[in-house]
Amino acid sequence: MPSDHFTTAQATLLDPTGLSEAHLNQFMQKLTNVHGCDFADLYFQYAKHESWSLDEGKVKTGSFNIDRGVGLRSVVGEKTAFAYSEDLNPAAILNAADVVSAIGRQGQNVSPDRAWQVRQHAPLYKGLDPVAQMPDAQKIAILEKADQMARAKDSRVKEVMASLAGVYEVILIVSSDGRQIPDVRPLIRLNVSVIVEQDGKRERGSMGGGGRFSFDYFDDQMIEHYAHEAVRQALVSLEAIDSPAGTMEVVLGAGWPGILLHEAVGHGLEGDFNRKGTSAFSGRIGEQVASPLCTVVDDGTLADRRGSLSVDDEGNQTQNTVLIEKGILRGYMQDEHNARLMGMERTGNGRRESFAHLPMPRMTNTYMYGGEHEPEEIIKSVKKGLYAVNFGGGQVDITSGKFVFSSSEAYLIEDGKVTAPVKGATLIGNGPEAMQTISMLGNDMQLDSGVGVCGKDGQSVPVGVGQPTLKMDALTVGGVQL
């Protein structure tokens, strides 16, 4: 029930230190008593993290952390003043509010007390505490199963490393427009990685997943799937030959290879870079920036997904934002600050790593809609090229548009057939140019399994990606075989 989240937020964040509406008014008056203040907010957060990790068949380490604090921000035009407190006692928060208002030039008017309104948007995930909900012995059992299942797959498996992590967050955003917006966010993840050895040659493989639900998600079938995939990838790598080097046709698999979209277009369409005019996509709304086959969205509203949020970290409802429609650039991802300065709509993309960080426009789940082709047809259309199905990380230079993403499982395509596996290689391209070369889309659109982490300005947030199998007519493959 919606009102439950506010009750939880109040009990977790306000009641323990006796914070009342009168206190919130007092803090907000300090924050807004700055000459020309456009808006201000307080971001209360409680975050519990627990993780366990296994190697050599044993769960050897576990760690537990609780963070609690409030971030205070006041915004005047393009300027932002920010401070935070790890102490939620009224005096400590008032002190932090003083720091924020001291940074600004104090105004003359004290704003009237606000009539606070609680706004609870329909939750996209259950407000459960995954860490508390499952006994520790059962969490250990998940990891031990992953170890046993992976070892049972193949005698060449020499080492299994697995980790399980759970997060429970309670958020309350108190905004200068009088809204109080709560959210309760679970997040879990399981990773399995293996080292295999054959004739003195070693390789690795890994697989994982998760989302905003309880640890019950990791049932035997799911653990088996991760173990199987990790071992399969490692064994494929044992057979891999040198990757080709040069520009060629590249087919990307469905799902996690959508990291292409995250790097090639996603970051470049975040509002802050476009307000400042520093992105290769700046000022290009309405222009053709991808092939007409491509429709790319950022969708924070998918139930239970790792990248989803019922509300963003500024209390705005997330949405399905069309970034590129049939190749035409339609819009940017916006937070409060950049939407205001650009005179655009907020899109619910204001996110922050924690109360100790400032929010900025960030992706949620970024994916491309599927097309018409059977994946086999796409492979068949390639005379000589690369078929890449799994990736590690990626990175982009927003300004030049150059992006990279590194494959961890790839194959040669020869005369329309998938042939030898090749070693991982980094693929590099220019976002707007590479997207124009997409010439075929599969009918197999798929989202990733739920392990994505995005870093920007030193802040990490969980994200999702997805895409159908797709073909790019020309992309540079960074192998060693000329």
Partner: protein
Amino acid sequence: MSQSNSQSSDPVAVSVDLSRAAEQALEIARQQGMDQAEVSVHQGTGVSITARQQALETIEKHNDAQFVISVYKDHKTGSASSADLSEQGLRDTVAAAVSIATFTGADDCFGLADANRMATDLSDLDLYHPWQATESELVDMALACEQAALDGGDRISNSEGASISTYSGNAVYANSHGFMSDSRGSQHSISCSVIGESQGNMQRDYWYDSQRNPQKLASPESIGQRTAERTLARLGAKQIKSQTATVMYDPMMAKSLFSHLIGGLKGGAIYKKASFLLDQLEKSIFPEFVTVSEHPHLMGESGSARHDGEGVATPSSRNIIESGVLTSWVLGSYTARKLGLESTANAGGVRNLRISDTGQSFDDCLGQMKTGLLVTELIGSGINMVTGDYSRGASGFWVEGGEIQFPVEEITIAGNLTDMYKNIAAIGADTDTRGNTHCGSIVIENMTIAGL
């Protein structure tokens, strides 16, 4: 958010006695029946300022505390952390660690580092130099830094701004051997990033400095100027053909090669058989002219420390690569025991890593390369640490006859780290002295460039 404010950015007085908190936590762990325990506590304050387009953009005030405890009981371990240094906070956190240690598996190798290895010399290493500037002075410096970059010419078309950050803090490490150490440190930085434009194409580049002592920071103007020069030099960059070529890493990029080396030498990667350097101990993995060493006791350097993250006394210096030969892993007490060896005092990493040079200047290195690629930026993380396979996005400059010809972008450089280390032909004396690793330009023969 006017610039007329003149509050000092001094760190606030330490509000909690960190040593007392550490002692309390160890006592709580003892009362809970733990065999051993160790605690790290730190507290620090800082300010980050960004100015963009000649106006103040953000001021962020930092004030952090963190407490981490690890407990050991019957060769099982658990750890927990919290920002709450109150007595109740300490009790709750220790209880969480104790609870975890009842569920984890036993391993004889767990436990504190050996008592006879604890550091006894805890004398000062000159690491604490809080910045006495006021906030408005810091804002002025950021503005001056950005202005110097914007003054770089008409082709400087936009800016991501200039940032100044300053941080000072205290840290205590204590364990149930009775060891306790209290240290203070500071770190300050200036950075700038601007955008150049020609023929509708934009390029961005940056420059920075980072020092423990603010007096040693390069001037804001010099950082701004260097930022503009680097940005302008990239305009008109193009792809080159796929080919095998000699690659020269500039000093800032060359450091990354040693970060991969240390990653591959860490005990955790070795005992899990997850390193490309697994069977290389006592073997020659670099040319004879390469020596890689760490120097933990240097005064005022960013990595300096009398002890590692487990209280083990650090040596004043030691070689990791000696005349090309790998002489040691990088071990803490747990991984040392796993391998049947002694800790190398590297819990928490290596400290002040130094790479020997072969004496050449930057220009000499270009001359020695004759024809090839000078790499000034790397993106992506395409490195397989199990096999050493290496493939990263790069940009830089094409060099012929030892002279820079034109800027290059949208290419990758690839090889295998094992071969790349052996194929080092020169290490310049143009050392980048910022940060924990100091290194000059590095020339590596026979890498694959993928491009057109």
